[in-house]
């Protein structure tokens, strides 16, 4: 299992310099990917823009959206932006898409919330067609476009993974929740007669160091406030000790995860350094 790290683009107060320096150091270190998350009505960066910037200062790491809310974006422009980032980064983009659960973002973007599932289905089929169109460029490094992952927990979501995508990206939670979702993705994949296995990505949140923990919790409760009472539960999953990180990684590894992206909750470069130190100590 590969371990990636999230960019601090979803944390209020993260300045541009921090994001760029974060990308540079993660690339110089042992992380396999840089992840970004998506939200409109929040103090956060537009994720594809952030990845484009990261592409310019990195050589090696994969650049992954885990996830972006596809229906909020114009499909053709999304195809164009994605293939541009893929070309700029020599094929390092991994495009994770989902429908999200925030009505306010849909309202702000002027997109119908209720038909978002159907909307995503149409987008998935259009994206591939555009990427394969020889007159549409820049060409993604791989014929047919960058690897596509789909997030979500609905039955439709897993059917989409098997029908359109290269894999599944899990939204977070304990390893056993991931294991159940991974089984659904695998079952759908086999049933569809897809060769090989679906790629399985997942993510978690961390805050290391006594002063960081409290602001980490605060951020998570704030970021997930739209889920109502569940924000507390989600925040309770914050990884705050090397032991918790070690167990989390082991759990995901055993459940068959291919790439686990750990997201920061405090906009401070020392968080990245501390995480790298913990992983180094764990010999990961």
């Amino acid at each position: 299992m590969n371990i990636g790290v999230g960019l601090p683009t979803g944390i209020p107060g993260a300045n541009g310099q921090l994001v760029i320096e974060w990308a540079r150091r993660a690339d110089a270190g042992s992380f396999s990917s840089l992840g970004v998350i998506d939200r409109i009505l929040y103090d956060s960066y537009e994720p594809l823009t952030a990845l484009a910037a990261a592409a310019a200062v990195t050589q090696r790491v994969r650049l992954a959206t885990t996830i972006i809310i596809a229906p909020l974006r114009n499909t053709t422009l999304l195809a164009k932006t994605a293939s541009s980032i893929d070309a700029l980064s020599a094929g390092r983009l991994v495009l994770g898409l989902a429908i999200g659960a925030r009505r306010d973002d849909y309202a702000a973007a002027g997109i119908d919330y209720r038909s978002r599932g159907k909307h995503l289905t149409e987008q998935l089929s259009t994206l591939r067609t555009l990427w394969e169109d020889e007159s549409f460029g820049p060409r993604a490094a791989r014929l047919g476009g960058p690897p596509l992952l789909i997030g979500g927990l609905s039955d439709q979501g897993f059917a989409r993974v098997a029908r359109y995508a290269d894999g599944y990206v899990h939204g977070g939670g304990p390893p056993r929740a991931f294991a159940r979702a991974a089984d659904k993705a695998r079952a759908a994949w086999r049933d569809a007669g897809r060769p090989g296995k679906p790629l399985l990505w997942a993510q978690g949140y961390f805050a290391l160091g006594t002063t960081a923990i409290e602001s980490g919790y605060g951020y998570m409760k704030n970021y997930y406030a739209f889920t109502g009472p569940f924000a507390e539960k989600i925040a309770a999953g914050l990884l705050t000790t090397p032991q918790a990180i070690a167990q989390f990684i082991r759990g995901y590894k055993e459940a068959g995860c291919d790439e686990l992206v750990l997201f920061p909750t405090v906009p401070d470069i020392t968080q990245l350094e501390q995480l790298a130190a913990v992983l180094n100590e764990l010999d990961i």
Binding site: R128, R163, D183, K184, A187, A188, D191, P195, P229, G256
Partner: protein
């Protein structure tokens, strides 16, 4: 803090005493509509895990409760003159009356004020309490007052049941199934005191009406049940407590709290009695609420915490209860099962208990299941009913005979995950070696992926086929290699892709038309599979002749190559399947419309193949059992088709579902096809093969022993 609890059942009393224990200064009042010594129902059941949580929550009541408990570890299933005994379950029960008595005494001791015989018509004013706990049961006045907030959903079960008692000592949880001229009656009976047992009697509406129980008085109902259970009761009378025949109400509520009001137990949720969890869940709610109130000074946080903790747990139980309820409502499907299998099916009905679990709980029962299964298999193979052997393998190692072909075990390997492209349908050396390697894994049967009957019947240009003499030689080498190096049999799945043809290999998704070199597609009706797909030509009768003949030619070639079993693809939206479903077949001729019409052409192909396929070799059909789309083919249709196929000489149905249209959304997960296989096997009485992502031998043994399928596709991780 002033706390008002409506309802003096186990949940209300227990919650009151737990809160009072932690906060002696709180002013707690419990209001109960009945008198203190009146109770409905007989015994309530708890598992050992629940007992553990009682012990931690309040030791004095735990001690008294456990003193009065009846604890036993056996479940007996009485069915068709046999009693199947399974042990190691650890179930405890207590009289509800006694439980209330213990809890009331403890409440009194702690200084909780209790008002009995006090009917609440209107809710207390918000000024009268800081917290209102609604433990007032399924008909909760509180919940009904705030319907728009709690959003309750009440669903009535299809069966009728009555809750009775008897002065009868039982040594096991006993399921009794009795058939008489009126129908089928099932009994859930368990002891709850040294001398008394609960008897819940359940039946479907028809049996209930046939028996005239709709018009029967309480005494007449009792007399009827006593006669029904004469053998089991041995002269003991049944007791009624104002008992009535009712439908079980399953209640779900959207939220469990609102401002300073919180729902507890049956006021918030119910779960079918057959998993015996109502009181258990209610008392666990009480523990969770009391502990949340203890941990959080802020009421809103505490109530949130309580709901977040309990709701997912309760939902899991409700799901299991729903499956159990559905099982009993549709029990007639399983009446064909022999007693041992019937009992195993019953014990594993909710999906929470597996073959390995039952074996761990009772090794003797596990051995008995193995011996029974091996014995049945041996009878079907030899035709001789020799006595069962002492040494018997687990069910998945039992052989299976289909016509003159005997598969050495019940495990099927199939659908190889590697993508090995071939040209012009011709299996390559690499393709062949892949199958031979797969054959070394001990399975009883190997099945190929769909193999095309013609070049235009291929799904992709890289699919293997069987339509050219060179193909026969290549397949023949594969079959010979499997036969010479293993005991496994090998089956061939013949397919015409229909409107799903002429697509790219599935490395980057499904049903994407070729970029160039497309061939034209055929289907029953001119409906493209996806919006991007080619519009297929509707088949003329002469095309149908050709396709039928292509299937026959491929079947002859399969015989030449010496395949042991042949399978025709009637699933996943390919050509023959697209005749079966009204979603893809909109013909107005004799091949479209009613099910009888829609099945006509696939059946014609089946008959033509059966006619030339050797008499001693089995012919199977991979059948869509549900389209998973409204208005599509459903399991009832599939059962009807399976019955017809059986009459026409079909030996095995592989159960598949979905993909009839590109927007089908099966609820994927481990074993997602098993319930569909269960229906086809037990309603159409035909052997079934099922996959659906079975990743462990335990899942396979559970399916086989319960008679939900006869063969399983193993897909280990």
């Amino acid at each position: 803090m002033k706390i008002l609890i409506l309802g003096g059942g186990p949940a209300g009393l227990y919650c009151g005493l737990l809160i009072k224990k932690a906060h002696p200064a709180h002013d707690i009042t419990i209001i109960e509509r009945n008198a203190s010594n009146v109770t409905y129902g007989w015994g309530v059941v708890f598992s050992d895990r629940t007992l553990g949580s009682f012990q931690r929550a309040d030791y004095p009541t735990y001690e008294q409760i456990s003193d009065q408990f009846v604890i036993w570890d056996a479940i007996d299933v009485k069915y068709r003159g046999e009693v199947i005994h399974s042990g190691g379950h650890v179930i405890a029960s207590i009289s509800r009356k006694l439980l209330l008595h213990i809890l009331q005494a403890r409440c009194r001791q702690l200084g909780i004020s209790m008002k009995f015989g006090c009917e609440v018509q209107d809710l207390p004013q918000p000024g009268e309490y800081d917290l209102l706990i609604a433990a007032d049961g399924i008909n909760s006045v509180v919940r009904k007052t705030y319907t728009s907030i709690f959003k309750p959903k009440l669903e009535l079960g299809k069966a009728r049941y009555i809750w009775l008692g008897a002065q009868k000592v039982l040594d096991a949880f006993t399921f009794i199934f009795r058939e008489n001229e009126h129908g089928l009656f099932q009994v859930h009976a368990y002891p709850f005191s040294g001398t008394t047992s609960t008897f819940i009697i359940e039946c479907d509406e028809t049996s209930w009406l046939n028996a005239g129980l709709d018009k029967a008085s309480e005494a007449e109902s009792l007399a009827y049940c006593e006669q029904l259970l004469a053998d089991d009761l041995a002269g003991v009378r049944l007791l009624s407590n104002n008992s009535k025949w009712i439908h079980f109400p399953t209640l779900k509520t959207r939220t469990w709290h609102h401002q300073r009001i919180v729902l507890l137990g049956d006021a918030a949720h119910t779960a079918h009695f057959s998993i015996g969890s109502g009181t258990k869940l209610a008392m666990e709610d009480a523990i969770a609420l009391a502990s949340a109130l203890e941990q959080h000074a802020d009421l809103e946080t505490a109530l949130n915490e309580y709901e977040l903790e309990r709701k997912p747990v309760v939902e899991l139980f409700q799901q299991a209860a729903q499956e159990s309820q559905h099982y009993f409502e549709t029990i007639k499907r399983h009446l064909g099962l022999p007693p041992m299998q019937f009992a195993f099916h019953l014990l594993t009905r909710s999906g929470r208990i597996s073959y390995d679990d039952l074996r761990l709980r009772d090794a003797r029962f596990g051995d008995a299941v193995d011996r029974w299964y091996a014995h049945q298999a041996s009878i079907s193979i030899t035709g001789i009913s020799a006595p069962p052997t002492i040494v018997a393998p687990a069910p998945l190692f039992a052989p299976l005979r289909l016509r003159a072909t005997t598969l050495p075990n019940r495990v099927v390997l199939s659908r190889n995950a590697e993508h090995i492209p071939v040209q012009d349908g011709m299996p390559t050396e690499e393709y062949a070696s892949h199958i031979t390697i797969l054959a070394q894994n001990g399975a009883g049967l190997l099945l190929t992926v769909p193999v095309a009957i013609s070049s235009t019947g291929r799904i992709t240009p890289e699919c293997a086929g069987l339509y050219h003499p060179d193909h026969v030689a290549a397949w023949s080498r594969i079959v010979t290699s499997v036969h010479t190096s293993t005991l496994a049999k090998i089956g061939l799945l013949l397919n015409h892709a229909g409107r799903r043809g002429s697509t790219r290999p599935r490395t980057a998704g499904l049903d994407r038309p070729l970029r160039q070199g497309n061939w034209s597609l055929v289907a029953p009706s001119p409906l493209p599979y996806t919006p991007q797909s080619q519009v297929p030509c509707p088949l003329e009768r002469s095309d149908m002749d050709n396709i039928r003949d292509d299937f026959v030619r491929a079947a002859r070639m399969a015989q030449e190559a010496d395949f042991d079993l042949l399978q025709l693809h009637f699933a996943h939206g390919y050509l023959l399947a697209s005749f079966l479903s009204p979603l893809s077949n909109q013909r107005r001729d004799e091949y479209g419309g009613s099910l009888e019409h829609r099945v006509r052409f696939p059946l014609e192909v089946f008959d033509a193949v059966r006619a030339i396929w050797p008499e001693h070799k089995p012919l199977s059909v991979a059948l869509t059992v549900s389209d998973y789309v409204k208005g599509g083919l459903d399991p009832d249709d599939a059962v009807a088709i399976a019955r017809i196929l059986k009459e026409h000489g079909c030996d095995l149905i592989e159960v598949l579902a979905g993909q009839t249209t590109s927007d089908s959304e099966p609820a994927y997960g481990r074993g997602f096809l098993t319930p569909l296989s269960n229906r086809v096997r037990n309603e159409a009485a035909i052997p079934t093969l099922v996959g659906g992502f079975l990743t462990t031998s335990n899942e396979i043994n559970t399916i086989l022993a319960a008679g939900r399928a006869d063969l399983c596709i193993f897909e280990p991780l």
